[in-house]
């Protein structure tokens, strides 16, 4: 099926009610996964940005099923649960979604290394933007090294997340977009 290139893409229709909930639920699970207390030294500071991975995946493959209001709600939940300044996570995720949506046509029906490179670019930009925003909101200059390390970790783990989300998508929603 040829894909229409626009901000409101035509995608395979979803009939099952559960399928509608899959992207939002998995993104929310990613958020919760990120705050679970894994007893690894330094983990809390360097937790990979799981939510960003989920938002990237769904915005590329099923943007119709992860609406901006869902991204907004998940971003706020993330801020409130993690104790971060409210709104920062929501703002960054929404901007990331907008950026992915603009570049979406380049990623459709491409091989995984291409999608991964796209995520690396987006991830690095987003994490740097998040760092700048946090510095601005908390009126301090955070050590940029831990942000860089976190970015590298996030990019490195993305294939695992992408595989898991792809499997979930195929099992519960149907063919990839």
């Amino acid at each position: 099926m040829p894909l229409k290139v626009s901000s409101i893409p035509t995608l395979p229709r979803v009939n099952s009610g559960v399928a509608w909930l899959v992207p939002t639920t998995t993104t929310l699970l990613a958020t919760i996964l990120a705050i679970l207390p894994v007893p690894v030294p330094g983990y809390a500071a360097l937790t990979p940005a799981f939510t960003l991975m989920a938002v990237y995946h769904w915005t590329i493959y099923r943007p119709d099923l992860l609406p901006p209001i869902g991204v907004f709600a998940i971003g706020l939940t993330q801020d409130l649960l993690s104790g971060s300044p409210v709104g920062v996570g929501a703002l960054v995720l929404l901007l990331a979604r907008a950026a992915v949506l603009r570049a979406r046509r380049y990623f459709i029906n491409r091989t995984f290394p291409f999608v991964w490179t796209g995520f690396a670019l987006l991830g690095a930009t987003t994490m740097l933007g998040l760092w700048a925003l946090q510095c601005l909101v908390q009126l301090t200059v955070f050590d940029v090294r831990s942000t860089m390390f976190r970015t590298v970790l996030t990019i490195a783990i993305f294939p695992v997340a992408s595989f898991a989300l792809g499997r979930t998508q195929r099992a519960l929603i149907g063919a990839a977009g």
Partner: protein, 298 residues
């Protein structure tokens, strides 16, 4: 049911993302201007999420225990030798402690000194951390219904962890001593110099305003001073681990990245931590005390 026309739906779909981005930006600014604005929302959401986080964090704790157990089996012989030696040493200390307790009791009696406040402990499990690089907090599975209150100290057997900053019904947030916003009045054990331990999100918080900076040396023990009335004096915090020009860093005794259970301690002092002041108009603020007085007169 009225179905919106295709054109209207397209317009809504086009305008929603920028509107939500603007809304998020507005929330960031509002939240910065008035820190208390989202506190109720945060507390409620934390309360609702607590059972989920509690359940999900259990397997992680269990896995960690299994790893510890396996490690224990491997090193059982050496561990036994070490413990036997340590036990001998501790028995000597026990004798000394018993003698000192007796002496202390007699001397206190002579001085008619006031006994320390009664202390109550609540054990709580860590169910979430901050999951990112910009705050250092953990969430614990206990709240107001177990007697927790803002300002109470969180400790482990090793030393100070932090203090409670938000308390819901079922969950509470602990601001770790490494957080950017943490400021703890401390005392250097050897010199009795006072200082403030200031977190900066790194693993080693800084010592600020040291009253006798020249006496500071690596390995000095840092204890809470009890100034400000938030913590009880004498809680172990850490040791001076690095000394630079005008900068001293403290290695906390507690491994803050592997917190399983913490003790929340009530020294009966937490009333002294001021509640966050909501941003109310000045006119309202002036009216309040008068109304309170009136009520008490009646």
């Amino acid at each position: 049911m009225i179905r919106p026309s295709a054109q209207l739906r397209a317009t809504i779909q086009r305008t929603t993302p920028p509107l939500l981005i603007l809304l998020s930006a507005a929330i960031v600014i509002l939240g910065k201007a008035d820190q208390t604005m989202f506190e109720t929302l945060r507390t409620n959401l934390t309360d609702d999420a607590a059972p989920v986080l509690d359940a999900l964090s259990r397997p992680i704790g269990a896995a960690d225990s299994v790893v510890d157990w396996a490690r224990g089996i491997v090193s059982m012989y050496q561990e036994n030798v070490r413990l036997t030696r340590e036990n001998e040493r501790l028995l000597q200390w026990q004798q000394i402690a018993l003698k000192l307790t007796a002496d202390n009791g007699e001397l206190r009696g002579l001085l008619k000194s006031v006994p320390d406040n009664a202390v109550s402990y609540v054990t709580a499990r860590v169910i979430a951390n901050s999951g990112g690089g910009y705050v250092r907090t953990v969430m614990v599975n206990g709240g107001a219904d177990r007697g927790l209150a803002r300002g109470q100290a969180a400790i482990t057997g090793d030393g100070l962890v932090g203090r409670l900053t938000e308390v819901g019904r079922r969950a509470a947030r602990v601001l770790l001593i490494t957080d950017l916003n943490s400021r703890i009045p401390v005392v250097i054990e050897s010199s009795h110099a006072s200082a403030v331990l200031a977190g900066d999100n790194s693993g080693r918080p800084r010592l600020l305003y040291v009253s006798e900076p020249n006496t500071l040396k690596i390995g000095d023990r840092i204890l809470t001073s009890g100034d400000g009335g938030i913590f009880s004096p004498g809680l172990p915090v850490g040791v001076v681990a690095a000394l630079g020009p005008g900068e001293a860093r403290v290695e906390p005794y507690v491994d803050l990245s592997r917190l399983g259970y913490v003790l929340i301690v009530d020294y009966g002092l937490s009333g002294s931590l001021p509640e966050p002041v909501p941003a109310v108009p000045h006119s309202e603020r002036r009216v309040r005390p008068a109304a309170a007085n009136e009520a008490s007169v009646r």
